[in-house]
């Protein structure tokens, strides 16, 4: 009886894998949004303002860890930690994240710190647009909003950069996490 139910779950996972989709849990967006908002609040504190880059880098590491853990947990629940769809998702995300890391180092080395928020938002948005192929259209919409915010951030004065980062990595993640949770994964909230 149990083996039949397990085989049914495996068949469902195989069908999902073959269809090439990844169900992104809304909880991942909510977790990333919470980390983004916390980073924005910390970086806005007058005493910590000069440490904004370090705070956001730490938030990026925490975000990757939290998002990765949630996705890995969901994949493990379906029986395959690193199934084909999850690999596709990672491959879509990696080029944008890698370019962001390289450009961050380049901007930091040349003292061009004001270009970093726009670069992050723009490249992360591009990475999300890529991931909409194996995930869902709503992830592409989120990516397009990040791209728009990134373009706007290049023209914003320095004092508004933290606001832009908070609006993107905090606000957009949170709102879309809730939307995805409601729309696609009623079971996961």
């Amino acid at each position: 009886m149990e083996s039949h139910a397990v085989a049914t779950l495996r068949y469902i996972r195989e069908s999902m894998d073959a269809a090439g989709g990844v169900a992104v849990p809304g909880s991942a967006g909510i977790a990333l949004g919470a980390i983004g908002l916390a980073a924005a609040l910390l970086a806005s504190t007058p005493a910590l303002r000069s440490w904004w880059l370090l705070i956001w880098l730490a938030a990026a590491v925490a975000g990757v860890a939290a998002g990765g853990a949630i996705m890995a947990r969901q994949s493990a629940l379906h029986g395959a930690l690193f199934g084909a769809p999850l690999r596709k998702l990672v491959l879509c995300l990696l080029p944008g994240i890698f370019a962001g890391a390289v450009l961050t180092a380049v901007h930091w080395q040349s003292g061009n710190l004001h270009a970093i928020p726009g670069t992050w938002l723009l490249l992360y948005g591009c990475a999300l647009v890529s991931t909409s192929a194996p995930t869902a259209r709503i992830v592409g919409v989120l990516g397009a909003l990040f791209v728009t915010l990134g373009l706007v951030a290049f023209w914003l004065p320095d004092e508004l950069h933290i606001v832009a980062l908070g609006a993107g990595f905090g606000g957009l993640h949170l709102v879309f996490g809730l939307l995805i949770g409601r729309k696609r994964h009623g079971r996961q909230g």
Partner: protein, 128 residues
């Protein structure tokens, strides 16, 4: 789009083929369980719903390639799901050829989630 590495080929030995509620806890009782949906239980229909749960829409030819079933078989299963309100089918023409695009409805997603809950509860109950 959907590759030819179909579910059927890989799941030949693993996918549940036995029909009927004997496979779920409670035997005959399961047939009356609200969470057990006979319409979703059938293998091809379960596959169609699983695929559409992760893709917003899939065409008839994509589904056919995915499950390696005949046109008649697929359209019969899809029609049953459509009649139950689990799927919508949008018909159009692409390069003068008819194209059918299937989507999961909110009712269909709820039924699929209920079915998943049911399978998970079977596993939990038997592991206790």
């Amino acid at each position: 789009m959907v590759g030819r590495a179909s579910v059927r080929a890989r799941s030949e030995t693993t996918a549940p083929r036995r029909a009927g509620p004997a496979a779920v806890p409670g035997g005959g009782r399961a047939a009356h369980d609200a969470s057990f949906d006979r319409l979703v239980y059938e293998r091809v229909r379960l596959g169609i719903m699983s695929a559409l749960a992760v893709r917003e829409e899939l065409s008839f030819s994509e589904l056919k390639a995915l499950f390696e079933v005949s046109d008649g078989n697929l359209s019969a299963h899809a029609r049953k799901l459509e009649e139950a309100g689990y799927l919508t089918c949008a018909k159009s023409f692409e390069a003068r050829r008819p194209k059918s695009l299937y989507r999961l409805t909110a009712v269909g997603r709820a039924a699929f989630n209920r079915y998943l809950d049911h399978v998970e509860s079977v596993i939990k109950a038997t592991r206790r």
